[in-house]
């Protein structure tokens, strides 16, 4: 009940936000937020660390960008094509990666993503180092002109909410429960008769599809798909967003995305632009050493601590 109020308040806030904040900034946060939520589905709830999620973000971005600028597809079809392409790649990569566990899983996904990086670098249709530029936003369903940032913002908000609800639904379904069981004790899940590799693969595909959707949406917003989207730094960034916001929490990844986009924004406008990666590295180290639950994960602990403190101060009745 409490949670429902929180979510309602957030929706109202999100609907009103572009009146106060620059919509392009908000859209960036929402796109990366969806990307991080998709990643968190895999790591926070499935216990699988993919260090190559940029491959899916980039595939969504490139395929949607190419489909819209070259084939002239409408935005809704373009987004769909990018998402499906990413899901298909997720199916292949997932099937390969679930064959190894733990630390090897992370290395396999990283290496596979690097393979994709070289593919997008060398393929004739991706524009090499320049990427795809000037991708048209088009008209949604032939009615709404997305050239307006306000219209675009509400579309992005709708896409994010849809992705978020899907993740929420997945976690609370019987499938999600099995997933958590596998995360917490894989051997026991196997002995109970669950085919864990299938569960891992399915969650991998869902996560890849949503990451692709995030990339496709980002392409629409910025009208650009570039090698940055498939670079290993992007894979690291999404890990960091999730870690900062709170692994295994629902809102954590969005909060983490907000924090990191803001940090990058603040640094890049000043003379400190060159230190973005140094800052990222330091946040990584600090989070691992001191702040593992992340902002959202730490919040309940802070509240209960505060409440205890206040109760102690109150005079005995």
């Amino acid at each position: 009940m409490n949670k429902r109020t929180l979510y309602c308040a957030l929706v109202v806030l999100a609907l009103l936000a572009p009146l106060a904040v620059y919509p392009v900034f908000l859209m960036k946060v929402l796109c990366f937020g969806l990307f991080a939520c998709a990643f968190n589905l895999l790591l926070g709830f499935g216990g699988l660390l993919s260090f190559g999620h940029a491959a899916f973000l980039g595939t969504g971005a490139y395929v949607t960008g190419y489909a819209m600028s070259t084939w002239g597809l409408t935005p809704e079809i373009g987004l769909l094509v990018g998402t499906l392409a990413s899901a298909a790649l997720g199916l292949v990569y997932g099937a390969l990666a679930v064959r190894r566990e733990g630390i090897y899983f992370a290395m396999v996904t990283l290496a596979l993503a690097q393979l994709m990086f070289f593919v997008y670098l060398q393929a004739p249709f991706t524009g090499g180092e320049d990427g795809l530029q000037g991708i048209p936003r088009g008209q949604l369903l032939g009615v709404v002109d997305l050239q307006s940032n306000m219209a675009m913002y509400y579309l992005v908000l709708a896409i994010f909410s849809g992705g978020f609800l899907l993740i929420h639904r997945t976690i609370h379904s019987p499938f999600g429960q099995v997933l958590k069981a596998i995360r917490d004790n894989e051997a026991r899940a196997i002995s109970l008769g669950y085919q864990v590799d299938r569960y891992k693969l399915l969650v991998f595909v869902i996560s890849a599809a949503l990451a692709g959707l995030a990339g496709a949406t980002k392409t629409l917003v910025f009208q650009l798909a570039s090698l940055n989207d498939v670079h290993w730094l992007m894979s690291g960034e999404v890990v960091l967003m999730t870690l900062v916001g709170g692994m295994g929490t629902f809102l954590g990844p969005l909060v983490g995305a907000g924090v990191l986009v803001s940090v990058e924004h603040a640094l890049s406008s000043g003379t400190l632009g060159a230190y973005v990666h140094v800052a990222m590295g330091m946040i990584f180290v600090l989070c691992v050493l001191l702040f593992r639950r992340g902002i959202v994960g730490e919040f309940p602990h802070l509240v209960s601590k505060l409440a205890k403190g206040i109760r102690r101060r109150l005079p005995m009745r």
Partner: protein, 295 residues
């Protein structure tokens, strides 16, 4: 027409040599990763950063201390190893035994910091480093031109790999290390200083990366990004070979270098991706890795 096969052979052997050079670097780096993984159970994401520090160590000590290549070859790996000691004692130790996830993220963060700082200080375009006078020039064989420095890299890294293998498999210190890999608790019970062995192991694994960096400085330009690019390839290589065996890590490293060299000759477009494709094949047909020990 008759001249064609000769030219082809020339190109083939040159690429093969380049491949073996790259393979030596892969072998040194994956050997270091495997040694560290064996005892500490962590994947050292900073391995690439230490390789880069090795190359920069050589460049900096020439620029500012006037130390030539031979001094650098001797001192820089020691310096890099000491940096590793510092990192292990200050940060990695704090999270030992808390799962491989956090150590991966911690060392990734360290790698980002180091790479970011060096990019800021030295730019990313790369700095030149001269081949030492003694090793300049080369030998002209009937089938190919053999640059002396490349032969030197090959011989030295093979020697180092062999020495490391002997150290681990044939000495008392190595037996401690192997015992620690099997059962650190029992080792502690026998009164062996396990934390010290852990520190030594990490420093040694990292020093190997530093050595590879010094060796690489005259062949590639010294650049802050050199570490991260090679590291991802090395990750694919340890997936291919599995980190269970020291000899396996060395052989896979060399072998993948050769395959990469051959690809550069026969189908250059795929040379950047071929190792990843081999990894895909290995995952399909022998998912545990080529040199995995039976569970």
């Amino acid at each position: 027409m008759s001249i064609f096969p000769e030219i082809n052979l020339f190109g083939l052997f040159s690429q093969l040599l380049v491949g073996m050079i790259n393979g030596s670097f892969y072998a040194l780096l994956s050997l270091g990763l495997a040694i560290i993984f064996g005892l500490l159970r962590i994947i050292n994401f900073a391995q690439g950063a230490f390789y880069m520090l090795g190359a920069f160590g050589a460049w900096l000590s020439l620029q500012f201390l006037g130390l030539n290549y031979w001094w650098a070859l001797l001192l820089v790996p020691v310096g890099v190893g000491l940096l590793g000691t510092l990192l292990e004692r200050t940060l990695i130790r704090r999270i030992s035994g808390e799962g491989e996830l956090y150590s991966l993220l911690l060392t990734f963060g360290v790698a980002l910091i180091v790479q970011g700082l060096f990019s800021k200080w030295f730019g990313v375009s790369g700095l030149p480093y001269q081949v030492p006078e003694l090793l300049q020039g080369g030998i002209r064989l009937p089938v190919m031109y053999l640059p002396t420095y490349r032969v030197w890299i090959l011989l030295l890294s093979l020697g180092v790999c062999l020495a490391a293998w002997l150290l681990i498999e044939r000495t008392r210190l190595g037996s401690y290390l192997r015992a620690g890999t099997e059962n650190p608790q029992l080792m502690k019970a026998f009164g062996i200083n396990v934390p010290l062995i852990v520190t030594l192991t990490y420093s040694f694994g990292v020093a190997l990366a530093g050595l590879a960096g010094v060796l690489a400085a005259p062949v590639y330009s010294v650049s802050p990004l050199m570490g991260s690019n090679i590291l991802i390839v090395v990750f694919a290589i340890v997936v291919i070979g599995s980190m269970g065996s020291i000899g396996g890590a060395i052989l896979t490293g060399l072998g993948m270098g050769v395959i990469e060299g051959l690809t550069k000759y026969f189908y250059p477009e795929a040379s950047a991706t071929v190792i990843f494709l081999v990894m895909v094949l290995v995952l399909i047909f022998k998912p545990a890795g080529l040199f995995a020990r039976a569970a």
